[in-house]
């Protein structure tokens, strides 16, 4: 579902933001600490209410029913990593499915699909899960209601980039799912469709990820670390050692030392 904001503001944290997130896309929101990423996510997901500022398709988010808010919009935050109700994975997932009020056949189908997607072991004690598996379980819980949008607030922060990419690719494989990620680590942004940089509550950059990541001075000014290959490419380009940004390490070495 396409999300649009019109002059979205909140206190002094978010200042008049106009932006569009396309359907079925991965959107990456980044910025230094306290730039307003989490507040922006809360506004977009309806956790903080605003009127006539956030639109899902043509519908104002303010007019969503509580059922629509909970089933169509998924939200995963890192702080929930230890907030599970039940002892094992199966009970946790069944509890969510029971609350959805769907038929048994559909319930079983959704459970099977989500278990396959994240390779979850239903009988495992949640306390014994690694952080990665806990994050996957949180995602599974949100995805059981088949949301059209999912917001991920800094959930990959203590996971290796390689693993985070694998999880993100699993999410990407789901049809009709718009993904919005907030993080101050740009390493993952390379697989996003769109990169948005916030600075003191304002958007200073809104472009496709590959183009945005080459704007090194702007990103550094926003207090962000560039991904290694982009940082290296842009600096080598500055010294006329490379013609363009190169994301593949092997190819870059080949180009430098033919």
């Amino acid at each position: 579902m396409k999300i649009t904001t019109k002059n979205l503001s909140y206190k002094n944290i978010i200042k008049s933001i106009n932006i569009t997130f396309n359907e079925n896309s991965i959107n990456y929101i980044s910025g230094s600490n306290k730039c307003g990423k989490t507040t922006f996510i809360k506004l977009l997901s309806g956790l903080i209410e605003t009127k006539e500022s956030v639109f899902y398709g043509k519908k104002d988010l303010y007019n969503f029913s509580s059922y629509e808010l909970s089933t169509q919009i998924g939200k995963v935050i890192y702080d929930d990593i230890n907030n599970f109700i039940f002892k094992n994975v199966k009970d946790e997932l069944l509890y969510v499915l029971d609350n959805l009020g769907i038929e048994k056949k559909e319930k079983n189908k959704r459970l099977k699909n989500i278990v396959n997607l994240f390779d979850l072991d239903l009988d495992t004690n949640i306390c014994e899960l690694s952080n990665i598996k806990k994050i996957e379980l949180l995602l599974a819980i949100e995805l059981l209601s088949k949301p059209q949008v999912i917001f991920l607030d800094d959930i990959f922060c203590d996971i290796q980039i390689k693993t985070a990419k694998e999880i993100l690719l699993k999410l990407k494989s789901i049809d009709n799912l718009t993904i919005v990620i907030a993080s101050n680590n740009l390493d993952l942004a390379v697989i996003a469709d769109k990169l948005i940089i916030l600075n003191k509550g304002e958007i200073i950059l809104d472009d496709d990820a590959t183009t945005s990541l080459t704007k090194d001075s702007l990103l550094n000014k926003a207090g962000l670390d560039l991904p290694f290959m982009i940082d290296l490419s842009t600096k080598l380009k500055y010294y006329n050692l490379l013609d363009d940004v190169e994301l593949e390490m092997n190819r870059m070495v080949e180009k430098l030392w033919k």
């Binding site: 600490n33 962000l224 290694f228 940082d231 600096k235 390490m249 092997n250 070495v253 030392w257």
Partner: protein
């Protein structure tokens, strides 16, 4: 000073790093299972009483604040931690304000935890760890929420704690870039078992970790240097990308 906990050696006067599946390392310290853990200081095995005294000097900076405490003010949260851990602090009110000042959270004592950003919550956890004036500070994924500015500040604070106060700092993280850049002594776990330990630079630069464990990321500056070396270009191992670029510039 050298402290050996179940085989893992952490050293004073430098920043230690722990990488891999290290949950058991943290749990061993958290559970304070005195009888089970083998602890040595400078090769002298500690008895039960000595172990108890050592545990009082260890502080762990955890990954997140339990959301049950979100309604508390920062001051009340830190006071609660003092009471829960039975810490003996002469003027705890002053100590709370001082600890917050160290991590640059001035005038934050009356703010509610819920109103803090992710990075500020993490800084509160760090300030809480400093309350007991610990000799050993273990940070579990401390840097993942921080931007460059705060990260630099914390690292400079660590260096001061190590150089001026001889504290032992242990950074547990799976971000190999941070570990390679900021630590000198590395302890590596695989499947929660101690795999290898030694100088961070040697373990990464001699590709020991890559050879024995594919699950640990190798820092990108090292991967790049290795690729160049395979082509016969003698690049040096550099921790900072700016140094790497200077080296490339000289050798292209």
């Amino acid at each position: 000073m050298e402290v050996k906990i179940n085989g893992a050696i952490i050293k004073s006067n430098l920043i230690n790093g722990v990488i891999g599946t290290y949950e058991n390392f943290i749990n061993d310290i958290k559970k304070a299972d005195f009888d089970k853990n083998n602890i040595y200081i400078n090769n002298k095995r500690l008895n039960k009483e000595e172990k108890l005294n050592l545990y009082k000097k260890i502080s762990i900076v955890d990954t997140s604040i339990d959301s049950n405490y979100y309604s508390l003010s920062v001051y009340n949260y830190m006071k609660m931690c003092i009471l829960n851990k039975n810490l003996v602090i002469k003027d705890y009110r002053k100590k709370i304000i001082d600890s917050l000042r160290i991590v640059d959270l001035i005038n934050y004592e009356n703010k509610t935890i819920n109103d803090l950003s992710s990075s500020e919550k993490k800084l509160v956890l760090f300030a809480t760890a400093l309350l007991s004036n610990p000799d050993i500070i273990i940070c579990n994924e401390l840097f993942c929420f921080f931007d460059i500015k705060i990260r630099k500040k914390i690292i400079s604070l660590f260096n001061q704690l190590v150089d001026n106060y001889h504290k032992i700092i242990v950074i547990c993280s799976n971000n190999s870039e941070f570990i390679y850049r900021y630590t000198k002594n590395l302890i590596c776990y695989s499947k929660n078992k101690l795999l290898i330990q030694g100088s961070t630079d040697i373990l990464f630069e001699e590709n020991t970790l890559k050879l024995i464990n594919n699950y640990i990321d190798i820092p990108k500056t090292i991967l790049f240097t290795n690729l160049a070396r395979e082509k016969g270009v003698k690049l040096n191992y550099n921790k900072d990308i700016r140094d790497l670029i200077k080296d490339i510039y000289k050798k292209v």
